[in-house]
Each structure stands twice: as structure tokens, then as C-alpha cells.
């Protein structure tokens, strides 16, 4: 059984996304701990990429801040080693295919296993290109997380059947970022997913407020929040951990 399943045993899961190295790795470590201490069930750690094509402006800027601060994949591996001294909730990496490919997929994925990373989210690796990393992910027990989008339609069953860890259900068209309203008929999508797999479903993209998170959690197993947290980092920088902690608590309570 995937370790990620544990994240969904404590009621509805709250999953924060944090870009590593924004504004520096010490802050990232403090933010992760603050999030976990306030109820985060699974942490999504972003490895910054120069050209994050699935991200809206907020996370794009976080990627730039992190990269211009000199963060690298190796430094992020060290961050996770440090976090794993006391953080026990599942953690996954969110990055782009080239970051894994360029590092050497074997070396990257085996290191994930070694340092305690439980899954990998790659928004530019659709079902058709899964084979690029899937065999290595299987070999090293790192779940390759599948994404399902509002446009997936006839593809939902196919993707759900082979999903590992959890399913990342993209709430809306477009890129990441805060949205005032989510209009997609997510219930119908979740219904098709449920008919094909027991793998938990978490909804992300556009969620920022407790009431939105509550609504999303009603129809799924959890909520993923990125841009709203990154905004706190952009606003408070090194002082962000306490604000993020407070925010995570309000969101987890709302679920």
C-alpha cells in the first residue's frame, strides 16, 4: 500500500504546495513544518523550473525567486533529508519533466526513495508519456501521480484505472492561480473516477478560501492549495511560516 494513502486517513486531506527555495531553503523548511504542525496531511514540494508552463503568474514568480536565490535539485534533496528528521506525513515533488530527465531519471527517482519522497507530480507528463518514468517509479516505490482535467472526458476511466497514490483533479481550465469561482462539474468527473478506482482524489487549481476548500472536500477526498500560500510567501518572505501555519489551520478546520 502506498504511503500516500495515510494522508487520506485523517478526515479530508489538506495538501499545501510550497515552492522550494522561495525565498530561501531555510524559510521553506520552516514553512513545511508550520504547515504540518497545523494539520497538513501531505506536502507538495515544488522544484522550481525556469519555464513552468502550467503555472499562473503567482507560482511563476515564486519559481523565479527561488532560482535567482540559487536553489538547485541537489540542495532540495538536502532540504528533504533535513525535513525527514521530524516530518512524517507523506511528501511529494511537483516539478516538470525536464528537471527529472535532465538530472538522470534513475538517479532522481532512486534519490526520491532514499530521502523519503513518496510521489512525483509532473504536469507535463500525460498518460501517453507515462512510460518515460513509470518503470523507475515502480522500481523505487515512488508514486507517479496522475492528473485529470475538466477536458479529460473519455480519458478519465483510462487514467483512473492506472492511478497510483492519489489522483490530482484539476478544477478548472487554464493555469494555476486563485479563482473566485470554480464552475466545472467536478462531481460528475469524480463519479467516473470512483467507478474505476479506489485511489483517493484531491482537487487543486484555484482553491484559496476555506469555504471553497470545504466545498471541494465534500465531493472529493481532499483539497490542494498552491497560489494562496505562495502569495503569503511573496508578502511576508522569511516571516511567512507563522502566517502559513495559521492559514493551513483555517483551511484544515474548514474541510
Amino acid at each position: 500500500m502506498s504511503k500516500i494513502a495515510e494522508a487520506f486517513k485523517n478526515g479530508k486531506a489538506f495538501i499545501p504546495f510550497i515552492t522550494c527555495g522561495d525565498p530561501d531553503l531555510a524559510t521553506t523548511a520552516a514553512v513545511v513544518r508550520a504547515a504540518v504542525n497545523n494539520g497538513a496531511d501531505l506536502v507538495e514540494l515544488g522544484i522550481p523550473f525556469s519555464d513552468p508552463t502550467a503555472e499562473g503568474p503567482v507560482i511563476q514568480e515564486a519559481n523565479l525567486r527561488a532560482l535567482s536565490g540559487g536553489v538547485t535539485t541537489d540542495k532540495i534533496f538536502d532540504l528533504v533529508r533535513d525535513l525527514r528528521k521530524d516530518v512524517t506525513v507523506p511528501m511529494v515533488f511537483m516539478t516538470y519533466a525536464n528537471v527529472v530527465f535532465s538530472y538522470g531519471a534513475q538517479k532522481f527517482i532512486s534519490t526520491c526513495k532514499e530521502i523519503g519522497i513518496d510521489g512525483l507530480i509532473l504536469p507535463d507528463l500525460p498518460f501517453e508519456e507515462k512510460e518515460e518514468f513509470f518503470p523507475l517509479c515502480k522500481q523505487y516505490d515512488v508514486d507517479l501521480i496522475s492528473l485529470i482535467a475538466p477536458t479529460s472526458e473519455n480519458r478519465i476511466a483510462m487514467i483512473a484505472k492506472e492511478a497510483d497514490g492519489f489522483i490530482y483533479l484539476v478544477s478548472s481550465l487554464g493555469v494555476t492561480g486563485v479563482r473566485s469561482e470554480i464552475k466545472t462539474d467536478l462531481e460528475s468527473i469524480v463519479k467516473v473516477i470512483r467507478a474505476n478506482t479506489d485511489t483517493p482524489v484531491a482537487i487543486g487549481f484555484g482553491i484559496s478560501k476555506p469555504e471553497q476548500a470545504h466545498k471541494m472536500a465534500q465531493i472529493s477526498d481532499g483539497a490542494i492549495v498552491g497560489s494562496a500560500i505562495i502569495k503569503l510567501l511573496a508578502q511576508y518572505g522569511k516571516d511567512a511560516p507563522s502566517y502559513v501555519g495559521e492559514y493551513v489551520k483555517s483551511m484544515k478546520d474548514a474541510l
Binding site: T53, S102, D124, E129, E153, R155, V170, L173
Partner: protein, 396 residues
Amino acid sequence: MTNPNGRFGIHGGQYIPETLMNAVIELEEAYNKYKNDPEFQAELTELFNEYAGRPSRLYYAQKMTQDLGGAKIYLKREDLNHTGAHKINNVLGQALLAKKMGKTRLIAETGAGQHGVATATAAALFGMECVVFMGEEDTIRQALNVYRMRLLGAEVIPVKTGTRTLKDAVSEAMREWTSRISDTHYCLGSVMGPHPFPTIVRDFQAVISKEIKEQILNKEGRLPDAVIACVGGGSNAIGSFYNFIDDKDVRLIGCEAAGRGIDTFETAATVNTGRVGIFHGMKSYFCQDEYGQIAPVYSISAGLDYPGVGPEHAYLHDIGRAEYVPVTDEEAVQAFEYLAKTEGIIPAIESAHAVAYARKLAPTLDKDKIIVITISGRGDKDCAAIARYRGEDIHE
């Protein structure tokens, strides 16, 4: 040359967000339906001939041939097409396909502005809405083309992220496509991006080599010894090469933008300095650092200022069928001036990269050899920038 899942050797593929998968599948199905449809092909040929002015001339550059004293040089005059570049070939094809698919809105990225102008032109012709993404840096370098696009009714959105050039314009166009798919076709400008784009764009550009072959057989009774074209993403080059790939005696030479030199960081010579990676929907060669971060590339030419290359070029390089050579800014500018003075033809600074390499190659070949250079576009758009490069400030 494309296998079923859009691979060229190890290159190509569909590395895009799930949100776009059904859109590219729909595109592929539509393309497969129409590519061999006689009615579609007849409409496209009519547009090529009556609207774009095809076939473009294969011009014997006698003065240049004499001056260089070696191989006989022909120029494939894509600069004479409507809108002044080869880009119109692909755009008319894609716009017609989009229309058949019931799309009413075209979005596009552009570097030098030639693809943006071509897309805006087709949108005007077909009565479609048009939005063009262009790096802010390029909107300054190519201000005239920005005006042309707006004149044609397109909205031009300056992209202010990253290096503010072609790479960022592609990223932004992809982001836009994920947010609005049902009525919108992404009219990608080069043989890059996710499958089926590299194949579709190549097929629409392959008219270049189809014509070269017919024209040279007509004029010389034999195939050329070398075909030379500039390579950014690589659409005019693949168009110039495609119908010669099986003719093993024809050398295929792609000229990459070396910027200030391939031993500097200010270069865009992907095959010469990059390594295999995954970006913008495809596996191919990319300029990148050791951690896979895409490099901020540089070239005087906005159209070649891109950190990747189309997957079919990556494959032709891997199997040794085509050669990819670096040409610096300085060499390209000299060739730009040379062709203007020698033949009275002002080439696009992109195409000048191909002319520059031909100037080196021709004198090393015997007089009975034949070289074809594709002049992918006209150089009017570049005059102000080249003047600046030479220290002269002119107002457009």
C-alpha cells in the same frame, strides 16, 4: 517519417498538460481526415497559388556564384511570398484546418513577428479572431511587425516573463490554450511542440522542397548537391529538406544562430551546444544548465532566438542525415549586407545565417556543384536593427 505516437527516433512525443490532451488528439484526428482529402488539398493549393503567390521562384544567383567562384548558387525565394516569409505556408494550412474543425479563434506565438503577421493575415482572410503572443523584447526589436499585426486586426500581447523572447511567447500561448480550447486553435509557427504539430507544420512547409525539386530538375536536369537553410525551431529548414531526405547524395545543412559564438553563453545554437531534454511538449535538443533549467539564449535574430529545435531535426542530426552548423551574428550581418549589394536582395536576418554558411561552402566546391539556399523571408523588418548593430540609429 513520423511513427504513430509522434516520435522521430527518441525525439518528439506529447509532453503537455492533461488539459490539452484531447485538444491535440482532436487536432490529429482532423488532420488525418483532411490531409489526404482532395477537396481540402485543392482549397489549400488554391490559397497557396492565388493568395500567397506560390510557387516561389528558384532564382539562379549568378553574381554571387561568380563572386564566390565555386558551386552554382540558387536562391529559393520564400521572401517573395505574401507577407514576406515562408510562415504563410504553414499558417494557411493550419487556418484552413482550424476552420474545418469549427474553430473561430487563432492564437499564436511569434519571435521576429513573421509568424504572427502570417497568422493575423490568415485570421483576417478567414474572418477569425486572432491573438498573438510576442516577447516584450521582440516587440521592441520588431516594432513594425507589431504594427502590421494590429493593422490586420490581431491583438498583440507583449509577454513580460522570463527572457521576454520567443521561448516565453510559446509558454504563454500554451497557457492561453489551456484556458480556452473549445473555440481556439493554437496555430504553432514551427516544427516543434507536441505531436502532431511537428508533423503538420512540416507537411505544410514541405511544399518548399517539393518545388525546389521540380524547379531544379527543370533548370539543371539534376538534384542539387546541398540544400542550406536557417534553423530556429526549424520550419523553413524541414520544409526545404523534406523531399530530399531520401536522396542521400543531397547534403542537408541547417544553420543555427550562434549569436556571439558557440563558446559563449550568448548563443542559440541548440544542436551544437544543447543536450537532450523535454520542453514545450517535445523531447529534443535544448540549451539548458546541468539541472535542466532552460538557458536564456541569445541571437541578433528574434526568429532564431529559441533554446530548442524541432524533434525531426534532432533525429536527422542523430542519424547523421543533416548537418547543423553554427553561424554568428557578425557572419549573418555580413551576409545580410552581402546579398543586398551582390544580388539586390535583402534577406531576413534569419535567412542571412544560411547565406553566411553558403559563402563559406561555395568556394570549397567545384563549379559543377549546385547549392540551393532557402531565403526564408525578406529583410525589411530587420533594417533598423542591423543599422543599430552597425552603430547607426534610424527611425522606422
